[in-house]
Amino acid sequence: MPKRFLSLWFRYLLTDWKAVRQPELRGKPFVFAEPNHGRLIVKAATATAQQFGIEEGMTVADAKVIAPDLTVFDHKKGREIKLLGGLAEWCLRYTPLIMLDPPDGLLLDITGCAHLRGGEREYLKDMITRLKDIGYDVRPAIADTIGCAWGVARCAQKGLIVPEGGHRNALMPLPPSALRLPMDLLMKLQNLGLDKVSSFVHMPHSVLRRRFQKELVLRLLQALGQEEEFLIPLKETVPYSERLECLEPVRTREAIEIAVFKLLDALCKRLYGEGKGLRQSELIWFRIDGKKGQIAIGTSQASNRTDHLFKLFSLKFDQIEPALGIELFVLEASLVEAVNDKQAGLWAGKPGLESEEIAELIDRIMGRIGNEGIRRYQPSEHYWPERAAAPGGHEDNRIDGEWWNDRPRPIQLLEQPELIQAMALTPDYPPKMFTYRGKRHVIVAADGPERIEREWWLDPGEHRDYYVVEDEEGGRYWLFRSGHYDSKEQQLWYLHGYFA
């Protein structure tokens, strides 16, 4: 299948943009200007201003003489790139492969896309009419090569859709400026009287190369399709993606659900056929007012089950704001992994951390509360109580080390040890009594001390002497004294946990 490229030339990109934002400026002469060596130079002018003879590169002072009611706006560097980027994103509905063509154009690879809208003519008409409705004056051209499409869009008067294989003929009557050449080369060609492509296309390449450097030959060959030229897409295309265009803009939740389910079904069928499952996926929607939005889901195991993935998306449907209506849904699987070839029916109901059901449960919880809240603990080789259990991801299945069981540890541990008033009669003996939050606990039995040294290589501070104590009511507590016993200084006692 021959490649087909579409070149869009926004003739008045900046001024059209201004007129879209301020409709009262439409049809009026105004220019964008930027300072250059102390003068204001015209950077872009409207069609009306150009009729007066105002051109790019003219000083604003001269332009004002020609058109006294000229409005001048400041030009901001890089604005046109930004605008083109926005327009390119808008054009993603026509083809996934788009390249920016600064300063004022876009290049689209429309191979295999045009028939979706009933042929190239209708395809082009649809796009141009829509752009015109927005307010952009655009000149398009479709051809077999990037170079030809570019030249035809900018230099040809008619025949904007070059038929397949006709790019050579289409180039012949065009001026050399259709070949994307630098200014000095164009001057040279003009001085030599070579005012059409046809006048030098038959010359031997060695002659052209000697006279006009290799740039001319390269551009010529590219336009003729003898030299390969590649389009670097603005956005990396996702290999696994599905699109759904709605005949009528949809607004209701039911309609959105149907659309998403349809997309997921198609995507999952494809993934299933290839033995793959998705880990990350985005749903992008385009509204008729030009806005777009997206929601993303992630799974803990590669999955290609429509029902499960739909459930994950449905948790986030509240974030979709259809406003006037959504006209296009795109579902992309940005991360795809090989899926374990399990027989779903066989494994259902079997408990275990690896089971699909658990993974799906975790996905659902993650979709609601986020990833941080879900933890499993692994034994960690630290005596310090706060570090004895290492929080890990829920998917981590290997266990290094053993859980210790030989020391008494409270079933409830306070996040921060809380200061208590304790009374110990004998040094290094458990306290007789302690007060916590205004309540007095008389201790009737105790074990300890168990000294736990602070891991000085991790953090500085005093060691702790832990005691297991039981009060009159039967409550069992884990207390500690910070540091050594010292009769001169007041001892700091803390409550750190409750035993079962």
Partner: protein, 240 residues
């Protein structure tokens, strides 16, 4: 004649229990090591696939409830499987679960940032048949919410534990049982200093189709053991 009638009534009772999901002892088989306490349950088997409610008013009681739950979970997880522990403000110290025979790495802890999501996560987890048990620490549980949880487990037969902390006012719930657990003084052999084995007074105030009662349990060598309540020691402060 009267004996025949009684037999029919007993048969019907058994049938109703079976329909409600309480398995007869012979089939269930699982022994929860709760000792005489198990006689309180219908068919003398701890009801799995149901919601149990634990009520605590003080942190020490919460810890005691945690011990009992961990001890029961040990049996539930014996055949493999995992447990989900949902909580809003969690204080459970994973390494301590090992003391009750529960491997901490078999528990998935879900720390929910918003309290209202606790029950949502609980319900989702209860609906998942791959989970052996779900524990949920929460504050309030209305009748409607408990009914939803109960409906979820009737489908999936997952066992659920709701640990209600700092309960000021008790309300009716659709849970199968209601437990109050209080720590009581541990006891060592006479004359021995120190703190003994964990010991609790368990009040089972509600148990559907069972007989409520009060027991004193002790955790000894990986199972519960019923003990006679603590008698006043002859001498206090003997360690000092």
């Amino acid at each position: 004649m009267a004996g025949e009638k009684q037999a029919i009534i007993n048969k019907l009772r058994q049938d109703i229990l079976a329909w409600e999901g309480f398995k007869p002892a012979a089939i269930g088989g699982a022994h929860f090591g709760l000792g005489p306490l198990e006689a309180a349950f219908p068919n003398k088997v701890f009801p799995t696939g149901a919601i149990h409610e634990f009520i605590s008013g003080r942190p020490v009681e919460t810890a005691a409830c945690g011990g009992i739950i961990a001890g029961i979970l040990r049996v539930l997880l014996e055949k493999g499987g995992i447990c989900v522990w949902v909580s809003y403000t969690r204080r459970i110290y994973p390494p301590a679960l090992k003391r009750f025979g529960l491997n901490p790495d078999r528990v998935i802890f879900v720390d929910v940032p918003l309290q209202k999501d606790v029950l949502w996560v609980m319900e989702e987890a209860l609906k998942c048949q791959g989970v052996a048990a779900v524990v949920c620490e929460t504050h309030e549980l209305s009748f409607m919410e408990s009914r939803r949880l109960q409906l979820a487990v009737e489908q999936s037969h997952v066992t659920g534990f709701v640990l209600r902390k700092d309960v000021k006012k008790e309300n009716t719930t659709a849970c199968v049982s209601r437990w109050y657990v209080q720590p009581v003084r541990s006891q060592l052999r006479a004359g021995m200093p120190g703190v003994g084995l964990p010991r609790w007074q368990v009040d089972l105030t509600k148990i559907r189709n069972g007989t409520p009662g009060t027991w004193t349990l002790e955790w000894c060598q990986h199972q519960f053991r019923t003990v006679t309540p603590f008698t006043a020691p002859e001498k206090l402060h003997r360690y000092a």
